[in-house]
């Protein structure tokens, strides 16, 4: 009784899929779906397009086509467009302030060191990343100050009055947040502590520095702080600002860390307790690395805020980039009204820095957010 019915096994061959209807794919369908889905939307789209058409060519023409690119002084700006010569002539001032021209490599070196440490902290093998990068970070501000000041490392002394420009904004923000890091961690621990006095002191500190306008803090730094030191003590202006920024930042960062602490499952604490770790072993070896990881996006957001706030130094007369721009605008050789060019230039620099940092923070957040991805 053998099966005599024999044939080749039938291979299942699906018929080729029909192409999607023309009305649902392709650029025309996309345009119809996204720009003209209904009558009211069509009207809005046409209105926006009309505004864009009437604005963009003018802006592009002003910025690029009829702009003045070459030359060294105001006379070079002959056409109607933007006078980028102004920005070019002042660019060294904008970036480095009055730092001596032959010593600029020191500023560059400091910036390179900063970026090197940041890149290292992302690329080192995870097994010893924190153990290497945290000490590096904590040493960095003091190394940079030594390089820029010069006296300690045997270079020419450069007075802090000469430091300035965009590099000062970057370095000041970085130095403030780095030194604020350990402080804020302590405040956050204090706020979570079981000791009532420690907790209330931390709460008062954090809320004070978060609640006071940063400008008031700067005024306190420049007017009140000198009163706090013993008579005759001279504290450098930049150091005073630095102290203020550190306190300001540690208030905000303490809240960031508190959020991080709350995100750590209590099982982590219990597990650390159960293997007999001491409080500091538990905190530094188990909790801190996880807190840093989960609060990374918020740390970056706080840094962006601080970085934008360094512009406020203008009000107490520190020569940061905006202050230098105002000086340049009131210079008697450049009285042609180059305000728009200057503001656009500084604005674009800040925008690029802050936007890239917020993109980075979004990316880190997405990488961390592994369980909610759909």
């Amino acid at each position: 009784m053998s099966n005599t019915f024999k044939s080749d096994p039938i291979e299942f061959k699906p018929t080729a899929a029909l192409p999607a209807p023309k009305s649902t794919v392709g650029p025309i369908a996309w345009v119809r779906e996204n720009l003209f889905p209904s009558i009211s939307n069509t009207l809005i789209t046409l209105f926006i397009v009309f505004i864009l058409i009437s604005l963009i060519p003018g802006v592009i023409d002003w910025m690029f086509i009829s702009a003045n690119w070459s030359g060294t002084n105001q006379e070079a700006c002959v056409s109607d467009g933007a006078c980028w010569v102004f920005v070019k002539a002042w660019s060294q001032q904008f970036f480095y302030g009055s730092y001596p021209t032959d010593q600029l490599w020191r500023v560059n070196l400091s910036l390179i060191l900063l970026f090197a440490v940041i890149i290292l902290s992302f690329t080192l093998p995870a097994s010893f990343r924190l153990r290497v990068s945290i000490p590096l970070f904590l040493v960095l501000p003091f190394v940079c100050i030594a390089i820029l000041d010069g006296r300690l490392v045997g270079l020419d002394f450069v007075n802090t009055d000469l430091w300035g420009g965009f590099s000062l904004n970057v370095l000041m923000a970085a130095a403030a947040i780095i030194v604020a890091f350990p402080f804020s961690f302590l405040w956050a621990l204090g706020r979570r502590s079981n000791m009532p006095l420690a907790r209330s002191i931390s709460v008062i500190f954090i809320e004070f520095f978060r609640g006071v306008p940063v400008l008031a803090l700067f005024f306190m730094g420049s007017v009140m702080l000198p009163l706090f030191f013993a008579e005759g003590t001279q504290v450098d202006k930049l150091v005073r600002v630095w102290i203020v920024l550190i306190f300001f930042m540690s208030g905000y960062m303490a809240e960031v860390f508190r959020g991080g602490f709350q995100a750590i499952p209590s099982g982590q604490y219990e597990a650390a307790d159960s293997v007999g770790l001491s409080y500091w072993q538990k905190t530094l070896l188990i909790i801190l690395p996880q807190v840093i990881k989960v609060s990374m996006p918020n740390i970056l957001a706080t840094f962006v805020m601080l970085f934008k706030n360094t512009v406020f130094l203008l009000i107490i007369g520190i020569p940061e980039v905006l202050q230098l721009l105002l000086t340049a605008l009131s210079n008697s050789n450049w009285l042609g009204g180059h305000a728009v060019e200057g503001y656009v230039f500084v604005g674009v620099i800040f925008w690029v820095c802050c936007f890239s940092m917020s993109l980075l923070s979004n990316k880190i957040e997405r990488d961390l957010d592994t369980d909610k991805r759909d």
Binding site: N34, L35, P37, N41, I44, T45, I48, V49, N194, M195, P196, L197, A198, I201, G211, V212, P213, V214, L215, A216, F219, M220, V223, M224, P226, L227, F228, F229, A230, E231, G276, L285, V304, K308, N309, V311, F312, L314, I315, L322, L326, L329, A339, V340, Y343, V346, G347, F350, W351, C354, F355, S358
Partner: protein, 405 residues
């Protein structure tokens, strides 16, 4: 850090010896006490040092501390004040003028920032690609540029390039915009009739609240809905209008008239105030838009689908299902944005808008040298305003919060 040990070894190493375990310094209670005593002593010593240093320094500089200077004549003029002010008035008066100006710019900023923020936040969810991108561009541009830069840009690049007073841009000969600011017509009430209209307006506002609670009670009891929104609008516009008609329209509109190099009459909005309000509301609006977006995104999609499946209209879904749930996320964020707007209003100092910080901490401090007193008073004000905002928003938050069962 830790070598591999057997369990027995670990037990042996960590088992407390009798003496150490009972030592008082290993008792967590005493330990906490000792740490706190140390902390407080350290802090007290710290404050003692800075206070004694400060007193010594003040004495050396010949500055008398105390609030006595508040009653001295200020001796300088303030660019703009909501209450009458002359340079012979006291520093206390300067303080009040500055405070009112801060409140004015903060209130305007909060108002416009909220409107901008909600419009652009909702625009993100538009089906129209262009509108969505417009919202993204707005948020990402203005959030990432320092506020001070924006203030200076509006003030010294945009508003400074407006035409002079004589060639002002005008809207129907009633509203004028020039380099000296914005001039708008002023509504002046006359006699008892106008007071009656104002009273009716206040009554209408109170009536709306009563109407709302009545409508809610009725809906809870009978399920019948009442068009509260349209009735409210009709009440707030209609009742004062009727009152005005009854009293024979007791108002005069004062139009600004160009005279010499300035305008007579009307309300003048100085360019400093315009620049500050513009930049504060655009900057904070970007953050609020982000908050609104986050709030709407936090509402699970199932909620919308469920509402659709029981046949609700799209408008009703938005107002009854999505927005109330989104508000739970939005309100706490709004709270902190409003507070930072008030704090950021201190940047008025950059363009010489006479807010509290500028006229009091800036000028008065320079003239009197009373650093600690002036800064202390200013900080107290900002704390108080922010606590008020926080209180109101928390009350509001209580209304939108999920009621736990």
């Amino acid at each position: 850090m830790f070598k591999q040990k057997t369990t027995e070894q670990i037990k042996a190493a960590t088992r407390p010896t009798d003496t150490a375990a009972h030592a008082f310094y290993n008792n967590p209670k005493y330990r906490a006490l000792i740490y706190q005593i140390l902390l407080v002593t350290g802090l007290l010593y710290f404050f003692y040092t800075i206070i004694s240093n400060t007193l010594g320094n003040l004495e050396a500089a010949g500055i008398k501390s105390g609030f006595g200077f508040l009653s001295n004549a200020a001796g300088y003029d303030v660019l703009m004040s909501l209450i009458p002010f002359e340079s012979t008035n006291s520093y206390m008066r300067v303080f009040i003028v500055g405070f009112l100006n801060t409140i004015l710019v903060s209130a305007l900023g909060i108002f416009f920032a909220t409107i901008l923020g909600f419009i652009f936040g909702v625009m993100y969810f538009s089906k129209n690609w262009l509108i969505k991108k417009l919202s993204v561009i707005y948020v990402e541009t203005f959030r990432n540029i320092p506020l001070l830069l924006q203030i200076l840009f509006w003030y010294s690049a945009v508003l400074a390039s407006l035409p002079g007073v004589r060639d002002s841009l005008s809207l129907g000969e009633a509203v004028f915009l020039s380099i000296r600011g914005l001039v708008i017509p002023k509504l002046i009430g006359q006699g008892g009739g106008s007071t009656f209209v104002y009273i009716v307006l206040v009554l209408a506002i109170i009536g709306i609240f009563i109407l709302r609670s009545w409508a809610k009670k009725r809906q809870d009891a009978t399920g019948q809905q009442f068009p509260v929104f349209y009735t409210s609008i009709a009440m707030i516009l209609g009742l004062p209008f009727v009152a005005a008609l009854l009293t024979g329209f007791p108002f005069v509109i004062e139009y600004p008239v160009l005279k010499g190099f300035g305008f007579n009459g009307g309300i003048t909005v100085i360019p400093e105030l315009m620049a500050l309000t513009l930049s504060l509301s655009i900057y904070t609006g970007a953050f609020i838009a982000e908050a609104v977006r986050a709030g709407i995104q936090a509402v699970p999609h199932g909620q919308t689908e469920a509402a659709r499946s029981i046949g609700m209209k799209e408008k009703k879904i938005m107002s009854l299902i999505v927005v109330p749930q989104a508000m739970r996320v939005i309100v706490p964020l709004l709270n902190s944005e409003y507070q930072s707007l008030v704090k950021n209003s201190t940047l008025a100092a950059a363009i010489a808008y006479p807010d509290l910080f500028n006229v009091f901490v800036g000028t008065a401090l320079n003239q009197t040298g009373q650093a600690i007193e002036t800064i202390f008073m200013a900080i107290i004000v900002y704390f108080a305003v922010n606590m008020l905002i926080s209180f109101i928003m928390n009350r509001f938050n209580g209304n939108v919060e999920l009621v736990g069962r």
